[in-house]
């Protein structure tokens, strides 16, 4: 028994060691955010510090304070935050009668954070960089006259014929190949913000000056950066921010949650993990907010080019069988069940609650009997279906849920879980023939075209990999995108709503909800009045303030 005893002792020591490690791991740096002029933020760091190369929400939250576009989004809460306002341009552009030419004039006397003057031609340089470097939002510039030709030259300094600038008058003219009301929304993003040509090379850079309330200083690209208020910044309508400095540090999500609880961080860009969320929500109600920002939709894609989802009855069956209440639990309560493809954040620009929902109340129980009957009638009962998902929590559980639904309605089903890094490009490849599975969409900017075009249109199918995982377009969607391209979405909201309903009626997708993002603050922050909830940036730090 000596051996047993010694083994147990070794095990005990190992366990004690593990506990020790955990204890050590839970201790945090002693940087409390006691300074009234500074706020400390925990974050997953930006995917890039170069404005034309960023994509993640974390990057947008920080860099929108550093780089301002010709037009920009209103720094305001709720729907008002989706409104376009002049930024570097002194006014909203004048638009020609054919809606293809936009004329801007930049504000006189503007300077970048390094003191250099802003000139009109810097905007064309930014569009060239965005296009040449192939930034995530570069596709939005493809509608500018001359961009395809510019790309063909493979010369970064070649001219884009559709953009003309006059550095003396500050006037910029942009010509589009076709009317597109998405254009202004796209150039309001950080990726189109003018930067000085001399300091913006045609390669990734982390030292590009901008025009913004804050200036970025990268202390360690993989660990920490600081935003300090830009001296002399003055753009009418753009807040200067209530803090002199934001110190942004990389931490793990459990660690940053604990640090916000302990008031060592003032804010965290991430949601507390599913496990900590109920505890945080219950204990720290006064400094916790949940909101569907940025606007998003979660749905199951159904590949209409492969059996059994090539049949309307089968797609309807999946819609009938989905129980959003179950999925809400998998999301830890952070899911708002819906029947619409467009999220509620598009109220006024296309969202109109589909009521009654053709597949039953999204907050109610599913209709499994009806779903089974539809599958049986389709003749595809017993067919094998592979449900695709990825590794990011809680997506494996969501995927497993859909598998169980498929089994419940009469299919043989199995799952295929891929790493998140390769998931979308794999299922977006037509050759993969992914039958059904997890997908979602977070709005790039508040325009319904940004929802329907990449996910459901024929245009999206032209690229590979595509985000149109249905691999078929709905004619109503294609016609709507074409007909409504030139119109201000707020003026044709009913027509976008009709397209939304057509997508649901045709069961092109199996929608189940909108994710609620959380904002969690330290106890010194004034959450009631300055939570900064923005429909574009998720959280607008320039609106944060301390309790008085």
């Amino acid at each position: 028994m000596g051996k047993v005893r010694s083994s147990l002792v070794v095990f005990g020591l190992a366990a004690a060691g593990c506990l020790g490690l955990v204890a050590c791991g839970s201790s945090s740096s002693d940087n409390s955010s006691g300074n009234k002029n500074e706020a400390k933020i925990g974050s997953v760091l930006p995917d890039s510090y170069d404005p034309v190369l960023i994509q993640t929400n974390q990057a947008n939250q920080a860099l929108q304070l550093v780089y301002t576009g010709l037009v920009t989004y209103n720094h305001a809460y709720g729907a008002a935050g989706a409104k376009l306002v002049p930024g570097v341009a002194e006014a909203m552009p004048t638009i020609s009668a054919d809606k293809k030419t936009y004329t801007f004039k930049i504000r006189p006397g503007l300077k970048y954070s390094d003191g250099e003057p802003v000139v009109a031609s810097d905007f064309e340089h930014t569009i060239k960089r965005l296009t040449y470097l192939g930034g995530p939002y570069s596709s939005f510039s493809s509608g500018i006259v001359g961009v395809p030709e510019y790309l063909k030259t493979k010369n970064p300094n070649a001219d884009i014929s559709g953009i003309t600038s006059n550095d003396k008058t500050g006037e910029i003219t942009v010509k589009l190949t076709a009317p597109d009301s998405k254009f202004l929304y796209a150039i309001a993003l950080v990726s189109s913000a003018p930067t000085p040509a001399a300091k913006s090379p045609f390669k990734s850079s982390t030292t590009i000056p901008g025009i913004g309330a804050y200036t970025i200083h990268i202390l360690n690209p993989s660990r920490e950066f600081v935003l300090t208020q830009t001296p002399g910044f003055n753009l009418p309508g753009i807040p200067k921010g209530n803090f002199n400095k934001f110190d942004v540090v990389k931490e793990s999500v459990p660690q940053m949650t604990q640090d916000v609880i302990d008031n060592k961080l003032d804010f965290m860009t991430e949601d507390p993990t599913g496990d900590l969320l109920p505890q945080v929500e219950a204990k720290y109600k006064d400094r916790f907010r949940l909101a569907p920002n940025p606007p998003n939709t979660y749905w199951f894609f159904l590949n209409q080019t492969t059996p059994p989802f090539d049949k309307l009855a089968v797609r309807q069956a999946v819609n009938y069988a989905i129980d959003s209440r179950a999925l809400k639990r998998i999301f830890g309560g952070r899911l708002q069940p819906t029947c619409n493809f467009l999220p509620p954040g598009y109220a006024g620009t296309g969202y109109k609650k589909i009521d009654p929902c053709p597949y039953g109340d999204p907050n109610g129980p599913p209709n499994i009997a009806k779903a089974k009957a539809l599958v049986a009638a389709s003749g595809d009962k017993g067919m094998t279906v592979t449900v695709w998902g990825n590794t990011k929590d809680p997506r494996p559980a969501i995927t497993e849920y859909l598998r169980s639904v498929m089994v419940a309605i009469g299919f043989k089903a199995k799952t295929k879980i891929l790493d998140q890094q390769v998931y979308f490009q794999t299922i977006g490849d037509k050759k993969t023939k992914a039958q059904a599975g997890f997908t979602d969409w977070f709005s790039d900017f508040p325009h319904p075209g940004d929802y329907f075009e990449p996910n459901l249109s024929a245009k999206a199918l032209a690229s590979s990999p595509t985000f149109n995982f249905e691999f078929k377009s709905n004619p109503v969607v294609d016609k709507g995108i074409k007909d409504l391209a030139a119109a201000d979405p707020s003026k044709v909201a009913d027509k976008w709503a009709a397209i939304d309903k057509a997508v649901i009626d045709d069961a092109d997708v199996a929608v189940y909800g909108n994710e609620l993002s959380s904002s969690f603050f330290s106890s010194r922050m004034d959450v009631a009045n300055c939570s900064g909830l923005s429909p574009v940036y998720k959280s607008d730090w320039s609106l944060f303030c301390l309790k008085k």
Binding site: P278, R329, A397
Partner: protein
């Protein structure tokens, strides 16, 4: 019986053991006692090893009884989710998974005895089915490791020359790779596209993938010591005698040399099973082993660690089963080693 202490002792026995045997058997000659019988006697005397061996058998029996437990006690299976269901507990209706996603903890009743996971699946049922998966992979992978170790160890040791050089260099390539990293790389690659070798096609979600990965990667750990042993055995007189009788190399390798490796193989076997179970858990935890929704202890721990605050049982229960199983196998394996190679024990103590 007179014993000359200076003489070489048979079968690695110490003087006391031979004296004890002589006393027990009277004046009968001790040459009739087979080494395996002696080893079993020693193993029987090691109560600690036997107790943990029994524990392992009990764990295996529990896992084998998974379908019975699922059907007659838990009334569910390993895959069925109960996300929106409620159960009556102490007269009170309780959600299996609450609106905020918190799964029910252990009920200590038939249904959800050890609680539910994030998808509302019965953890006790998945634990038993997961055990079957882990043990199945453990035994199958260990069998592959042992088989490859035997074949390559004997071929390299006996044939020598270029065969030894090729096999040894291949082993040299596999040996220094961190096992888990190599397993993760292979597991991730194969989980997507599966395995296709000519007409043989294995789906990415098949258990064969982790079995092959976990079976092949540690094979040098078995092959190398066996090769060393074969190098010594091939020079022995009985091999010379077999050659002189005209036996071919294959016959000599597998009917003359292999039986002499049996004690080493028996000693390695339980440890290899334990190692394979641990490796499976590690790879599954990292998403490169058993693929969802198939339960295994590794995948259960992987899901459970995300819920350590609200549902620590989700990771602790499969973790405890894993620790118990590996501990039982290791201690029993140590007992087997001591029984078959008492000198090793003496060497360890020294």
């Amino acid at each position: 019986m007179a014993i000359d202490p200076a003489a070489e002792l048979p079968s690695g026995l110490d003087v006391e053991e031979i004296v004890a045997l002589a006393r027990r058997d009277g004046d009968k000659p001790i040459t009739g006692v087979a080494p395996s019988r002696l080893a079993l006697r020693r193993l029987r005397r090691n109560r600690g090893a036997l107790a943990f061996g029994a524990l392992f058998v009990l764990l295996v029996a529990m896992c084998l009884a998974a379908p019975l437990y699922a059907k007659h006690v838990a009334h569910t299976d390993a895959y069925e989710n109960h996300l929106t269901e409620t159960i009556k507990l102490h007269g009170k209706v309780t959600d299996v998974v609450s609106d905020s996603g918190v799964a029910i903890g252990p009920t200590w009743h038939g249904r959800f005895l050890l609680g539910a996971d994030e998808s509302g699946r019965d953890i006790a049922v998945r634990l038993l089915y997961g055990g079957r998966t882990s043990l199945e992979i453990g035994f199958a992978a260990a069998a592959i490791t042992i088989l490859l170790g035997i074949v390559f160890g004997i071929l390299a040791g006996y044939l020598g020359g270029w065969v030894d050089m090729v096999i040894s260099r291949v082993m040299d390539v596999i040996w220094p790779f961190p096992t888990v990293l190599l397993g993760v790389a292979l597991g991730t690659a194969l989980a997507v596209g599966g395995l296709k070798i000519g007409p043989l096609e294995v789906s990415g979600s098949s258990l064969l993938i982790p079995i092959l990965i976990i079976g092949v990667i540690p094979s040098p750990y078995m092959a190398r010591p066996l090769r060393g042993q074969v190098l010594a055995l091939r020079e022995k007189e009985f091999v010379e005698a077999a050659r002189a009788q005209g036996l071919g190399p294959l016959r000599i390798m597998f009917s003359e040399i292999l039986p002499n490796l049996s004690s080493t193989i028996i000693v390695f076997a339980p440890l290899m099973v334990a190692n394979a179970i641990l490796l499976e858990a590690g790879l599954s935890y990292l998403g490169a082993g058993v693929q969802a929704p198939t339960p295994s202890w590794g995948t259960m721990i992987s899901v459970g660690v995300d819920h350590m605050v609200t549902g620590p049982h989700q990771a602790i229960v499969p973790g405890a089963m894993l620790v118990l199983t590996v501990l039982a196998l290791n201690i029993f394996g140590d007992g087997v080693r001591d029984a078959f190679d008492p000198r090793a024990k003496v060497r360890t103590v020294k």
